[in-house]
């Protein structure tokens, strides 16, 4: 991405971002959750203007009218109390907070990341590694690295954990973030209402490769998604202990592909040896030997040591 343009020129040329860029912001939402968050964002700003705008208007007026040395300005050095003002000053913000608080309560329940968005979601299990994400599709039998492919219009139910330090999983254009923590499982529900490529990232610093821990979320029509699943299955590699080792080795997706002698990050597509890989990682953490994660009888779903209350 290095460019030879001088930085200032470059900056000017970039004030309008190129059209092909991945969608970065929840203010340009591509799904129902982000759309609601965006609406809530603007609502709070407009409501807050009620108390903020008077400060912006009145402060300069007061400073001008009551500046030292102005003739004929009234001067009341002892004036220090007025019930009228007191009631307005305390009452105004209280009413505003009552309104905002009511909206907050409703929105928080409505947009709870744990709340399913509909029936028959696509299940995806997410595991955070240093500095990449593993996406497990338990129902499709595949797993990808730093590439989340979802169908448009179908809810997606994510379960998340981390195999290393704490991370935070965010796809701004679709939904808010949730922490991924070792030995613990969190949940996130999202849905794309339009096709496109969206920025996905870790927002919690976890070492020198943190800035590179990005992934692209691609939302495609149901047909395209089916096609993708087919080709992914066809080209998938075996999820061997070597792959687990590569995941647990500090490095980006590029480093991982290089380590496994694959062409690039887009080749990091694997066949799932066991459907409950996520639960095993959750239970055993990074201490487990790789072969134990990949073989043996399946474990019952609620066997995770520290399930968090839903």
């Amino acid at each position: 991405m290095r460019t030879s343009l001088p930085p200032v020129l470059l900056a000017l040329s970039l004030l309008v971002p190129p059209a092909h860029a991945t969608q970065l912001s929840f203010l340009k939402p591509a799904g129902p959750v982000a759309a609601a968050q965006s609406g809530h964002f603007w609502f709070v700003i407009i409501a807050m203007l009620v108390v903020v705008v008077p400060v912006f208007i009145l402060t300069p007026i007061i400073l001008w009218r009551y500046r030292y040395g102005r003739r004929n300005a009234s001067y009341r050095p002892e004036w220090s109390f007025s019930w009228g003002w007191e009631i307005l000053l305390w009452g105004g913000p209280i009413v505003l907070i009552l309104i905002l608080g009511t909206v907050l309560w409703a929105e928080t329940g409505q947009l709870d990341p744990y709340k399913p968005l509909g029936p028959h979601p696509l299940r995806v299990d997410v595991v955070g590694y240093d500095w990449k994400w593993l996406f497990i599709y338990p129902d499709l039998g595949i797993a990808t690295v730093d590439k989340l492919e979802i169908p448009v219009g179908r809810p997606v139910a994510l379960r998340l954990t981390s195999d290393t330090v704490m991370q935070s999983f965010l796809i701004p254009a679709l939904a808010g973030q949730i922490y991924a923590m070792q030995g613990m499982r969190t949940k996130l529900n999202l849905e794309a209402s339009q096709a496109g490529a969206f920025l996905g990232e870790n927002t919690q610093y976890n070492g020198t490769g943190f800035h590179a821990q990005k992934f692209t979320t691609t939302a495609a029509s149901a047909d395209d998604f089916r096609k993708w699943v087919g080709s992914a299955r066809a080209g998938a590699h075996a999820l061997s202990p070597a792959v687990i080792h590569a995941l647990e080795t500090k490095g980006t997706d590029k480093d991982m592909a290089r380590g496994l002698h694959l062409g690039g990050p887009s080749d990091l597509v694997f066949r799932l040896p066991v459907a409950d890989l996520f639960t095993r990682i959750l239970r055993d953490g990074p201490a487990a030997p790789a072969h134990a994660l990949l073989a043996g009888s399946p474990i019952a779903a609620p066997a995770a040591p520290k399930q968090k209350a839903d």
Partner: protein, 704 residues
Amino acid sequence: MWHALRLFLFGRLGLDNMPFDEILKAHDTTDLISGCIGTFAAALAVGGALVTLWLMTRYRLWGKFWSNWATSVDHKKIGIMYIALAWIMMLRALIEAAIMRGQQVAGYGGGGMLSGDHFGQLFSTHGTIMIFFMAMPFLTGLINFVVPMQIGARDVSFPTLNSVSLGLTVAGALLIMVSLVLQPFSTGGWSGYPPFTEARYNPGPGPDYWIWAVTLSSLGSTFTGMNFAVTIYKERAPGMKLMRMPLFTWTALCTAILMIFAMPPLTVATALLALDRYAGFHFFTNTAGGDMMNYANLFWLFGHPEVYILILPSFGVYSEVFSTFSGKTLYGYSSLVIATMCIAVLSFTVWVHHFFTMGQGADLNAAFGIATMLIGVPTGVKIYDWMLTMFRGRVRMTVPIVYGVGFLFLFCVGGMSGILLANPSIDYQVHNTLFLVAHFHNMLIPGLLFGLIAGYTMWFPKAFGFRLDDRWGYRAAWGWIIGFMMAFFPLYVLGLMGMPRRTVSFLEPAYLPWTIIALLGAFVVLFALFSLFMQLWVSIKNREALAVPVGDPWDGRSLEWSMSAPPPEYNFPVIPEVKGRDAFMTLKEAGDDLGEPEGGFKDITMPANSALGPFLCVTGTATAFGLVWYIWWLALLGAAASFLAVVLRGFARNTERTIPAAEVRRSWERWRDRAMSAPRVPRADELTDANRGHAVPAKQEIVA
């Protein structure tokens, strides 16, 4: 054999901990430049220390330093030393900020001038220093200097403990400065979240530096809190009822109470993390039964009240500034007191909003979100109370008022982003992004720092007997305001575009223009800091012309303006009898401010100097340094010496000395004669040489 000896003597400290190690092991030009920056910074720190030592030896200042400053338990001198420490640490942390902003421009597309590890250390030291070793010492210094005088006391309740608090804070700061030379520092940020800071993921000395520096400082702050709560409850002059105390003292009381309750959770959190790291415990490891969520709760149980520990004293300063420089009594005194108390109590009910995204239930998040919004109510009331204080006043656009007005505007923006963040559904989007960084800088720079600098400007003449040059003062104030807006408003935009905090580089071209503006803003802020240092230099040079020996340069209202500048060691020749709010203004208006005190002068007993504070500073630094580097003999020696010193202090008998009444009278008469010969000046001449610190009371001034 040699290896064992080396291990015993130096622990895990080796040559590869020197700052130039990064140069020697450089993989690419980024590492090379990064290493050079680190080495240069270390050289600067060492050079600065050596030059200071040499100058002090050359001009034979060691004796004076020891007896007049280091061992002094005078609250005014301790306050001044705290603020001096704050300026030094601010210089370092601000330069670090500018370097990080530079990296975020240069690092577009990868590379740049800082290695990832160096960048991680920079944002960790920047945050840790700014909170614990810039903001805390600065506000503690102001409280130290001002509060006893405002309540009509001669010193704090526990003067030696006060000196110990300073010693511990300096010890923590020294440790952070040492980490510039013997590297590395932590890369875990100012909040030091495990498991990233656990031994499994970061076995090196970095997190240990952080743990012990923060522990030392938090112990010092706990003692400060206890000291000032007791001082304000017990040492007030007769008639100084609680509801007559100046607002700054009120905010100091609330801050002191918050310190008592909020600092221990931090000390506990760092102690448990230390047990994890040193003794293989599993409090926060997430394996073997540990749970890092407990750390998050403990840390923010401290961390959120901390925000109000930081900002309440500044609110107190603003209350003094708006009323003094409007020549008017404070509007809504009771309202402001109630609002301050509300904020102090509510500050303990909101900590979960620092981790809405940790997966707890929606109802819990919503409850904490609403509690967070509630804090907006008393804060909003305060803003309007200050506007009404200026309403129908005579507002002078002095430097403190420029900061105050800048604060009114900018704080509203920060408050708005705060209410946004209080909504869990919005927080899910902007948490951990630069939006959050913009928000808390928006609260802490206009809210906290502008207030502290306004207070520094206002009380400097009281401390040193001369005003600060106002031309450089205005430059600094505008520099801070404009620089702040340029440096942080772009971060709001970047955060909304999904750019996370703590990113050493990025690939997204849309971010670049905004990072460039932020970098330019950082330069303007650096100019503002430069202006403040220039202001100090110019003012010292012109101190004759700027002198205000009578001690009331701003037509002040509270008791600290009633005495000479600088004040005598015992503050009040005779403890005043307080009859209402604005105690000194009442005296002035009645023409009683120069009258001979009723009842005559008496002998004054003051606490004697004590070497305990500086001694614990040295032993505390040594203990912490030994712990960081596994130099166990040093750690043990330091801890034993500290313990022994505290015990021995218990046997000290000559802890007081008496100043004879005759001397007090002589000193008072000198001041009175000087005041009689200096004309009372109207506010129009406030910023001229005519201002000798003797003011016409605002009400009696006729504005032509």
